[in-house]
Symmetry: C2
Subunit: 415 residues, 2 copies
């Protein structure tokens, strides 16, 4: 069973919008056993869309189209789909009612003709009701193949995929079994990791594939299995992982299925009933933001201080000015003082602190661009490490955040 | 002059990686006058890659391929490209030397055979030297069409596009003129905006197109022009914008070409020589992170307090416990006290504060999920607004951050 995704919109082809919809749809389809053969982004142009529909129909059983369904005039998707199905647009009364209710209950502004026109649909299409917006999804069938058209707004598209598309696909098709399991590692490069686990990799059965996905100091190892026998596949994958784990135990930190590192560390903190606070200089609040992006973070995160300016480190965090003058603001002494002060001020079990120079120019310190010190303080100890994360500002910040979570996780797991 | 982008990698088709490379490449190509006809994401599979190359060659003059060039075994791109060009792989001595130097100066680990093998290239290809990694880019030509293959790591790919691909394309082709200008608006929905500017839009000349790009409470209006006469196009676009601006002055906040709202507000602060600090509860550090993502933020950002826990609001920010008990932690009174306290503690010209409930469960307050209060304090004034941003945690946080910058910008522009 194969699917293709077609995303429609000039905004994608001129690079003003990153297509995040396709990743969400691909992930969701893969989970239910549907492989995605190809993702194609095409222009807001009738002939181009028709050509893409034709090609997709020849490769796949399920064609998911996103984009081009807003209320404004750059939308031609619906007319093109009608043409592809030799159909015409008619008003769908249920959709119109949904739009009217949306305006009455939430939008609370006059209902315009452009909004009412969103109830126009090909007569052969079934409407997929959009609970968050005015553009309905559409479900069409042709020669036992399914065509789904969805609005491009990610939030609306996701709800339609989860609530409408997946249940309908499941009830229409019988899916084979696909399983992915992704092991998260930090601290070892892609090629060193590949070299270390080469023998294991060479002995994987043919129906299990391995891929290396490196990013900012972390490498994800993705195992993908496909088999008609679900039990056999699950057992074999589990055994392969059990063989792999001892070979990577110094760099393995969790499974992607359990969330990103901030979610994994968050679960650890919640389980151990420990609390944390932060003092961020060069990372500028991104560690706090990452921690609080996880639902339930209030159980372990008390907050922290973004001490971006040197005077903030002195006046708010209470770092001794002499320490800064003697060692410079980017130093082990300062970052450890930041962590210790935060631990006390917030009365927490763990404090993380960062100071450094993310560039592009040097700040209140002569430290080389890319230099970052990260400290961890606990009730018994404080220590720091020095890094150089290169000369790309956003990359320096992101690598520092990743490394801070890595150090924190290792500290929590110390017993 | 048209281009196609082919991204290679199963990780994209199973949705584990969002393809951000294509947006960057599209944006860069459009800037130099090259339209992108299509973006196609294909599997790590020889036949599929060959088919995509063939189709791209039939549509475009420039074919950019990313992905599939890492050191590990999931890479088949180079062999497939060699096959497409009836070519074989040979060691490129300059690339090998680059890899050896990279290992000696930066990686400082043993150079493995898998790394050395990255110097293998089709004999007809010119190497594009990768200064940040071991996988070289490749430049091939066929019937006056250009094929470029680049590594998928965004950082490495971007440097190769900017330093190698764009200069070579410019010297090979004569590009037509394309101009984009994107007006940023906040506070008005897509359809209301469309309704308001309908007459203006209907009178746009045929060579200037308008698109509406809505996202999280902001709508971007993108004008795209294409003409052989550069002066005529630039003059006409400027005149159209001057006609449009008075119709949207209450919601217009800048041009995308000047950066996102945090960059635009940052420039304003720097120009006015004003300083800012933050106190964030429900936004958890994301306002600080957004401010500091802009290079040069240290000129105006002193820092702030992430007061996630109620006790942090009391102990660190110094909010009176009675105020919290009387009005609840999610209230106008508390958010205004947070802003005022931050203004004083950090001795700044502007303070932003947020408190709210991003969900999924209620915290130390009975406020409805999605409720957010945002306050702005200045030396003369403090005020707040109450919002409800829905029930999707990350969306609530992002909308609150956007709204905070909107309020801040309006405050700075008050005279």
């Amino acid at each position: 069973m194969q699917a293709e995704i077609i995303t429609i919109g000039d905004e994608i082809l001129i690079g003003q919008v990153v297509d995040t919809n396709s990743a969400f749809i691909s992930k969701t389809l893969n989970k239910i056993g549907v492989s995605v053969y190809q993702i194609t982004s095409v222009q807001d142009d009738k002939d181009h869309i028709l050509k893409a529909l034709q090609e997709a129909e020849s490769n796949a059983n399920i064609i998911i189209i996103t984009g081009g369904l807003g209320p404004t005039k750059d939308d031609i998707t619906k007319n093109t789909i009608a043409e592809y199905f030799n159909d015409k647009l008619v008003v769908d009364e249920a959709v119109l009612k949904n739009i009217e209710q949306l305006w009455e209950n939430h939008i609370k502004k006059p209902l315009l003709q452009v909004n009412k026109d969103q109830a126009l649909m090909p007569s052969k299409a079934q409407a997929l009701m959009n609970i968050y917006g005015s553009a309905p999804g559409m479900w069409l069938e042709k020669n036992n193949k399914v065509f789904v058209s969805l609005p491009g707004v990610p939030f609306e598209m996701k709800a339609l995929i989860d609530n409408e598309v997946v249940p309908r696909l499941r009830s229409k098709f019988n899916f084979p079994f696909i399983k992915h399991k992704t092991l998260l590692t930090y601290g070892l490069g892609e090629s060193s990791l590949a070299d270390r686990i080469e023998v294991w990799e060479d002995n994987l059965p043919s129906y299990i594939k391995l891929a290396y996905l490196p990013n900012l100091g972390k490498v994800r190892l993705r195992l993908s299995g496909k088999h008609t026998d679900r039990t056999l596949l699950e057992t074999e994958m589990e055994q392969q992982i059990q063989q792999l784990l001892p070979q990577i135990e110094d760099v393995f930190f969790g499974y992607e299925e359990d969330g990103n590192i901030e979610a994994i560390v968050g679960k650890l903190l919640a389980k151990e009933e420990k609390t944390i606070a932060i003092a961020e200089s060069c990372t500028g609040g991104k560690i706090a933001e990452s921690i609080t992006s996880v639902a339930g973070a209030s159980a372990y995160f008390k907050g922290g201080i973004v001490s971006y300016a040197t005077e903030t480190k002195i006046n708010i965090l209470g770092i001794n000015k002499h320490v800064i003058d003697n060692y410079s603001v980017v130093s082990a002494e300062v970052v450890e003082a930041m962590a210790t002060s935060t631990l006390k001020k917030f009365n927490v079990d763990y404090a993380i602190a960062t100071t450094g120079n993310a560039g592009p120019t040097k700040g209140d310190s002569n430290a080389e661009i890319g230099t970052v010190f990260i400290a961890i303080a606990t009730k018994n100890n404080v220590y720091s490490e020095k890094f150089n994360f290169g000369n790309h500002r956003i990359k320096v910040i992101n690598k520092a955040v990743n490394k801070a979570f890595e150090m924190l996780q290792k500290e929590i797991l110390k017993k």
